[in-house]
């Protein structure tokens, strides 16, 4: 299925959304989708009988700093039933980098979106588990942004002592002893 037929089919299902097909060099017809209609479009892509994009192969992003809108979030979809592929993209401004999660539609998106948040700082609204995935939890900044430095040195945070006062320690020991006696 080429991009024009795909857009026509999608436009019929989601009339409000805007679709912008762009030329590609690989086997993925590429379509830009407006951010507000992402979830509705995703649902149609998965469920419409002539599309059936059941397999979400990839969620990633690219940062085109200093151009605005600087981010492009990329979804690679595969339809096993009809044996075709699609690349869906969403443009995001640097000052307003958030979009809806699709993890309710494709469960595979959960970690993939977490990775994009972790490395680019793009927020996925309604994500069930919005934590960092690859970087340490206390990391500051988003490494794959183009304005993020390639090499930085920072002191490690791994040797902080256990924060328990002597008083708390005694209470804990006493509580453990009591609970053992109850047994």
């Amino acid at each position: 299925m080429d991009a024009a037929a795909l857009v026509a089919s999608l436009q019929q299902a989601v009339p409000d959304a805007t679709f912008e097909p762009v030329p590609t060099v690989d086997l993925h017809p590429t379509v830009f989708v407006s951010r507000d209609h992402l979830v509705a479009v995703a649902r149609v892509l998965r469920d419409a009988p002539d599309l059936q994009f059941a397999f979400l192969a990839e969620v990633t992003a690219a940062d085109y700093w200093p151009r605005e809108p600087r981010y492009e979030v990329v979804y690679v979809l595969v339809s096993l039933a009809h044996k075709h592929r699609l690349r869906m993209k969403v443009r995001l401004h640097g000052s307003d980098a958030h979009l809806a999660t699709v993890s309710g539609i494709w469960p595979a998106a959960n970690w993939l979106e977490r990775e994009v948040w972790d490395l680019f700082g793009i927020v996925f609204d309604g994500h069930p588990d919005p934590r960092r995935l690859l970087m340490p939890e206390d990391w500051e900044g988003f490494p794959l942004r183009k304005d993020s430095p390639v090499q930085i040195r920072r002191p490690p945070h791994t040797t902080e002592p256990l924060q328990v006062t002597a008083e708390e320690f005694r209470t804990n020991v006493e509580r453990d002893r009591l609970s053992r006696e109850q047994l």
């Binding site: 060099v25 086997l27 990839e58 690219a62 690679v76 990775e115 995935l133 970087m135 609970s179």
Partner: protein, 393 residues
């Protein structure tokens, strides 16, 4: 009699646990032997390869991507080169395609051998590991022969291969292909009907057909659940459509059917290797003849001024790739694999993103082990074949 108090126990498994294939950490909540919840924690091997790749020239990225999934180096570099070549718009000579197919299939056997060995060892069959690593040694010797490197040959380059095949390559591969089927029978004798192995793997870590698709596990895991999807068949690349091979599938979706699928895949890979080897001539074209992309042969560099200039330009500045983006999927040993590559028209990539099948397998791990027993966790982690270098990149 006082009331009995019960509580669940939270246990850290890893990151240094020997059977987590690297540094996967699982926080397990246990009720006795049963797993109530599991949360995988990853990132211990995160090395920022994608960020590093943005600073390198296109050719310099190949050694980096080979180290992502360190058990399928040649698949990684083939996937990366295919994406870049798609952007460049070059068409490869037939011989290069066949050699790449041969190398990719040998790599698949190599990766599956490591998987079979470690998985067998984790469920108690230690001798399988020794046997598998014995045969893997032959494959590493072939790598050493073609490139001087055993694990990360960097032999596949943008525009073709680094150099022509060495003398004795055909004999070495043929000797391996003659030896291997008997050895596979030997492994199967040890495991396929082994009562202990069956008890450890049958009905363990079951995933259904639809779940495997929804969680993005397309590859041996989905084929074990009955999803008949193989990139080599559905979206052929490098001329796989001209090869005769089958896509083995199973229906149960448990750890045992994943074992069956991977062993059958090794046999099919050998079939492809034999066909490829017959098509490859011992000497011939090994790269495209574009002086802007591939360096000229050494004898010309030493005798011709133009060739020397080209050589110098390629090794100092690299080549430029037209503006655009490409993602060419291939069937790696762990499932659909590929590199999303963006170029801004310069001699360095703007963005390189690896589609990591292990990351998705790791994500689905929680689903596979919750409700099961703690002893099965090891069998399940082994059966989904995660490589932490691929998960964390």
């Amino acid at each position: 009699m006082p009331e009995l108090r019960t509580e669940t126990m939270t246990v850290n498994m890893g990151p240094q646990h020997p059977s987590t294939h690297g540094v996967l950490r699982l926080v397990l909540e246990l009720d006795g032997e049963q797993i109530l919840s599991a949360s995988p924690t990853i990132g211990y091997l995160h090395t920022g390869i994608e960020k590093t790749a943005e600073q390198k020239k296109w050719q310099q990225v190949i050694p980096l991507v080979e180290r992502m999934d360190y058990l399928s180096a040649q698949s990684n570099s083939t996937a990366f080169c295919l994406s870049v070549e798609r952007l460049l718009g070059v068409e490869l000579p037939e011989r290069v395609k066949n050699i790449r197919i041969l190398l990719a299939e040998l790599q698949r056997i190599n990766s599956h051998l490591v998987w079979l060995g470690t998985h067998g060892m984790e469920v108690g069959a230690v001798s399988v590991m020794l046997y598998c690593f014995r045969e893997r040694e032959l494959l590493l010797n072939i790598n050493e022969m073609i490139a001087g490197f055993r694990l990360f040959p960097s032999y596949v380059r943008v525009g073709g291969l680094r150099e022509d095949l060495p003398r004795g390559f055909h004999d070495a591969v043929r000797a391996f292909l003659e030896r291997m089927p008997g050895k596979l029978d030997e492994y199967e004798d040890l495991l396929t009907k082994n009562e202990i192995y069956l008890k450890r793997t049958q009905g363990v870590g079951v995933i259904s057909n639809d779940d495997a698709i929804a969680w993005g596990l397309l590859g041996p895991i989905a084929r074990a659940a009955g999803v008949d999807y193989d990139v080599r068949k559905v979206f052929p690349y490098l001329g796989y459509e001209t090869y005769d091979f089958a896509v083995p599938t199973q229906t149960a979706g448990d750890a045992y059917s994943r074992y069956k699928v991977r062993v059958a895949e090794m046999r099919e890979s050998m079939k492809i290797c034999r066909q490829a080897l017959d098509r490859i001539t011992p000497r011939g074209e090994y790269a495209i003849a574009d002086p802007k992309i591939t360096p000229p042969p050494k004898d010309r560099v030493y005798t011709e001024m133009e060739a020397l200039i080209q050589h110098f330009l390629i090794y100092s500045q690299g080549f430029t790739v037209p503006v655009g983006e490409a993602y060419v999927p291939i069937e790696g040993p762990r499932g659909e694999q590929g590199f999303y590559v963006v170029s801004d028209g310069t001699n360095r990539p703007w963005r390189v993103k690896s589609r990591a099948p292990s990351l998705l397998a790791c994500q689905a791990l929680e689903r596979l082990i919750v409700g099961g027993l703690i002893a099965d966790v090891i069998a399940v982690i082994g059966s989904i074949d995660v490589v932490m270098g691929d998960v964390d990149r």
